[in-house]
């Protein structure tokens, strides 16, 4: 399995990433993708913009480990993860996960696993600007629950 991860300020293009991951290999019948976007509302409060802080070095390491874990669990051909940092506006793309596989079930499961894992294990922190000022976003219990589901199902 090939995999690559990037932590960057620049935006990304989903089609270009899918093409790059599947180029020169016509075994991949299935490509599942996820793109996370900045919402203009969080728990009922309007969000004007957002800053993403991260732990340089550890972020890349964590994303790399997540991709490898997914490749150990499912039959995959390629994994691509991009996470943006810095200043972002509502509607902006934050995160991309693309998983190619011979079979769609594996691509879906691995893509969701990577997102759930990333949400609780990769060292990124969001700070939102709202009408009342700026605030650090609280972690969601639902993300811990999503992660716990994988631990229960596949021991990860």
């Amino acid at each position: 399995m090939q995999h690559s991860v990037s932590v960057q300020e620049a935006d990304f293009d989903l089609s270009a990433e899918v093409k790059a991951l599947t180029a020169g290999n016509n075994l991949a019948g299935a490509v599942a993708s996820f793109v996370g976007l900045v919402r203009d509302n969080n728990d009922g409060t309007g969000v004007a913009d957002m800053t993403l802080e991260h732990y340089p070095g550890m972020t890349e390491k964590a994303l790399d480990e997540i991709a490898i874990k997914a490749g150990e669990r499912w039959e995959l051909l390629g994994v691509r993860i991009i996470h943006r940092v810095g200043h972002l506006m509502p509607g902006d793309q934050i995160v991309l996960v693309v998983v190619s596989s011979p079979h769609r079930g594996n691509s879906f499961a691995a893509c969701e696993f990577i997102m759930d894992y990333l949400k609780t294990q990769a060292p990124f922190w969001k700070k939102e600007t709202t009408a009342e000022g700026s605030r650090w976003v609280d972690a969601r219990v639902s993300d811990d629950e999503a992660m716990a589901k994988w631990r229960d199902q596949i021991g990860m």
């Binding site: 732990y55 550890m58 964590a62 949400k119 609780t120 294990q121 990124f124 922190w125 650090w136």
Partner: protein, 83 residues
């Protein structure tokens, strides 16, 4: 020497993003290091009052009772919120 790093709300609370110090005598775990820093008083209390404090050791997320040694890079931060 060890490197201690702070991120996000915790970085703002303690007022620094990173510091390098000699491994204090008697400090052999991340939890003990936290106690050592909290004992400085003032803004360092944030390390004691932080809800769900998380830590990394040499860039791996670990439990607070993990052992540390000279040369380690230790980071303290709130639960992550990326993605």
């Amino acid at each position: 020497m060890i490197t201690v790093m702070f991120f996000a709300g915790l970085r703002e609370a303690v007022g620094t993003s990173s510091e390098t110090l000699a491994l204090p005598a008697g400090v052999s775990s991340i939890a003990a290091l936290r106690d050592h820093l909290v004992a400085r008083g003032g803004q360092w209390q944030a390390l004691a009052t932080a809800k769900n404090l998380r830590a990394a050791l040499n860039q791996d997320m670990v439990a607070l009772d993990s052992a540390i040694k000279d040369g380690d890079e230790i980071a303290f931060f709130p639960p992550v919120t990326g993605g």
